[in-house]
Amino acid sequence: MRALFSRVADILFRRSRDRRLDEEVQSHLDLLTDEFIAKGLSEPDARLAARRAFGGVDQMKEQYRDQRSLPFFDTLAQDVKFSIRLMRKDALFTITAAGSLALSIAALTMAFSIVNAFVFKPLPIADERSVYSLNDTWSYPDLKDLEARLDVEALIGYRISMMSVGVKPETSILWGYLATGNYFQALGITPAAGRFFTPAEDAAPGASPYAVISYDTWQSRFGGRPDAIGGSVSINGRPFTILGVAPRGFQGTEVFYRPEVWVPMTMQAEIEVGSTWLANRQTRNVMVLTRLRNDRPREVSEAQMRTVVTQLSKEHPRHGPLTLRLSRPGMFGDQLGAPARAFAWGLFGLGALLMLAGCSNLAGLLLARGNDRTREIVLRAAVGAGRMRIARQLLTESILLALCGGAAGAAIAWAGTRAVSAWRLPTELPAQLDLTADSTITLFAIAASLVVGTIVGIAPARFATRLDLNQSLKGHADSGVRSRRFQGREILVAVQVALCVVLLHASFLAVRGLQRASTASLGWNPSGLVMAATELGLARYPHEQFLSYIDRVRDEARQLPGVQSVSVSNSMPLHLDQSNTVIYALPATEPPVVTGASYYSVSPGFFANLQIPLREGRDFTEFDGPDAPAVAIVNTVLAERLFPGQNAIGRQVSNGRGHPIAIAGIVNSGKYVGIGETPRAAIFFPLKQFYSTSSMLIVRTSSGASLTPEDLRAVIRRVDPNLPIRTAATGEQLTAFPLLPYRAGVIALGLLGVIASGLLLSGLHAMLAYAVIRRRREIGIRMALGADRATVIRTVVSRVIKTIAIGGAAGAILTVGTGPAISSMVLGVSPREPALLAAIGGVVAVIAAASCAGPIRRSLGVDPVIALRTD
């Protein structure tokens, strides 16, 4: 060990150590000379004698050096130096090869960072492995019952909530969590400043006006001032005390959402003013995490939990069944888990395929170059370089090249993940995806490039060891290696064609998915709509004021020029705010129960405004007021589920509270939560019977008129300047958000397809260009013997076409396997569309034509005389 260490040191300090030896030898020789002079020799004789006594100085030095250093590293240094010289000499080749590798490594690394964010990266909490997310959302009474009955370390509830926070000089809407009192304690995190609220501070409804703010909010809104902690802040017009600041980098317990403030859950009525659900078992809107006990396996805990949940479900049959499933936290109760994971892993798989294409590309380039270098290699072998030594040199070159590509790729990926992480999703709540990661990503890129360099380098290295010296030296450039029917290079190109087909198929599928989604029938017409949403609860409107607001804002909006129709509702389809409820048919003895029905509170004229066709019955009127009998309009899906094969009009239903509700009308079904959703049940209530604090003004403009979201903001401000406005958008902007996953798919997969096409272009070009050079003699001879140019072209092109055809066929077969996987990661596409394969074939043909043009022109330009003379 010690010797090794000193040897390494010797390599580092080689120069000075060389000098030291020289000096030492010189002094030794001098002393010897002195001795011989003392013995009576003349000085020149003495010097000679001294040399003789000392022995061969150079041999000794050589031995000394070998002894001193590690020969492995010495040769490595030589190899690296030589490789760098070569890389600089052939800069174009280096840039092409390293560049294509960089792109594929960057793509794979980006895909890996998405996998990392979705699957591996732990939340910054203590002992993350024992924390699990319960499926979907739960009601607060269910949460409390479970907490009392379950044998777990902790059960944590939280809910995404919006609040208006007064930080002088203005009131702004902040997004946060309503969280149970044990939230911070059970997660085991420590505050950056101040303290967190405790279970005791979440005991009684309305008794704990406390808030914890995120580190970023502390910095941005409170300037990081220490005196902000303990200070008072106005939330929805009530004073709350800021207890403390969450640690830096703690972004709550969801991957996609960054809360800015936490408030104890028992303060719900103060935060979501106008709605109280803490006592409602049917309002399932709390996300739940659990920390399992460490002293028993997860399966045991899960089985126990399942028993308790089943029991609870039996006790409250009216509220629909409860099921339990544990999953990794962070994916909205795993509602996003499966699609997010499918997307991430699918992307990673495609990234790996691209990487494989990049490898084949690089291997092809290196192999072609290895062929070009036959002479150099043969010469080196002839003057005594061992074959292993030559192979090692070639391997060093490819690894070095791969490392350059890897470094560039890592840099691109780094910039890419930074850009994605900084991007705030175009929606009103703070949705962001943190892709930035620790050094694992960089390590991944470097490891990937090392693997690539080795794999790719093996081919040329093997080529070098198979060389037939005798033939090669004689100048038969292509006779050094026995020619086979289908050569390695052609196999590599075929592989690239196949992978390119697979990746193009994936990107075309994504494009088709987006195309389908953007032209999908929503069941209502977003074009020409403008909306603005406000939160009356945040301004603490009492009930009467709420009723008068609806009329005033409608009247005010009707005054705008170019208005065709106006409606007010709590929300609208495909908006972020979607609520579900349980609906069952009355009489309640024999329940068809529909859980998860979307519900909306809407003013008269809502359906006409959104252009939702009324199938049967009537629309709401001004007479469906607070004192009139409760009525509702259902969509065809809900009508069919509750009253299959019967007439639903006039039948009575219940949502579990209050009076029976009579069905007054049936409307066509549409898309409510997402564009790719399966048909959903929906129910609409008259706004004045089911008031909601969320109030959305929706205006349809007559064609030719131009109303902007700003105009609607102004309308609301004219009605009440103190109302906080959440969003204002056009119908198109609103429907753009649900299209986001489709767009993401197109961008991600499209990028892979583009890179794959680029690789194929360069790979084909390299193969052809090389084939032309290699077969120059043959072409020359053919032409000299009278072959016409067409025949020559045919000889060059036929092999290429055969290669592409074989690769393309293999790719087409592969898509049969990859297609279903891609349609599971990209929403709403069917993997088999004949038109797609035709399009892919077209793209490949264009790539082939583009890459062939140059080399073919060159092969036509071959002058038989010159060609026959060279080599």
């Binding site: 040897r7 030794h28 002195d34 100085v57 001193r68």
Partner: protein
């Protein structure tokens, strides 16, 4: 034994260690000289070959070196034995003695 035998493989290290242990710090020339003296002309030592040996011993930490001035005022590198070197010498000498004894006994049984 012929008058000018090669240095048996592996014994040069032992000779150098013993020399340094006996005589204290010495330069390469001094060490070579001493070994030749002891051999009394029966050893063909290329004096240069002791340098790789010195490096080897230094790498193992058995000897250390530093610049100094020779008796006739020449700058020279002086080597001295370290504590671990002394231990090593004892062990090596022991094993050498045993090896020689074995070989002697083998040769005697004839």
């Amino acid at each position: 034994m012929s008058p000018n035998a090669e240095v048996p493989y592996g014994t040069l290290d032992l000779m150098v260690l013993k020399t340094l242990a006996g005589l204290g710090p010495l330069h390469g020339y001094g060490i070579a000289r001493r070994i030749e003296q002891v051999a009394e002309g029966t050893l063909a030592l290329n004096q240069g070959t002791i340098y790789p040996a010195l490096l080897r011993l230094e790498q193992q930490g058995w000897i250390k070196s530093g610049w100094g001035t020779s008796e006739n005022n020449r700058r020279a590198r002086f080597y001295s034995i370290t504590a671990t070197g002394k231990k090593r010498l004892a062990a090596e000498a022991d094993s050498w003695a045993r090896t020689v004894a074995i070989v002697n006994r083998l040769l005697a049984t004839d």
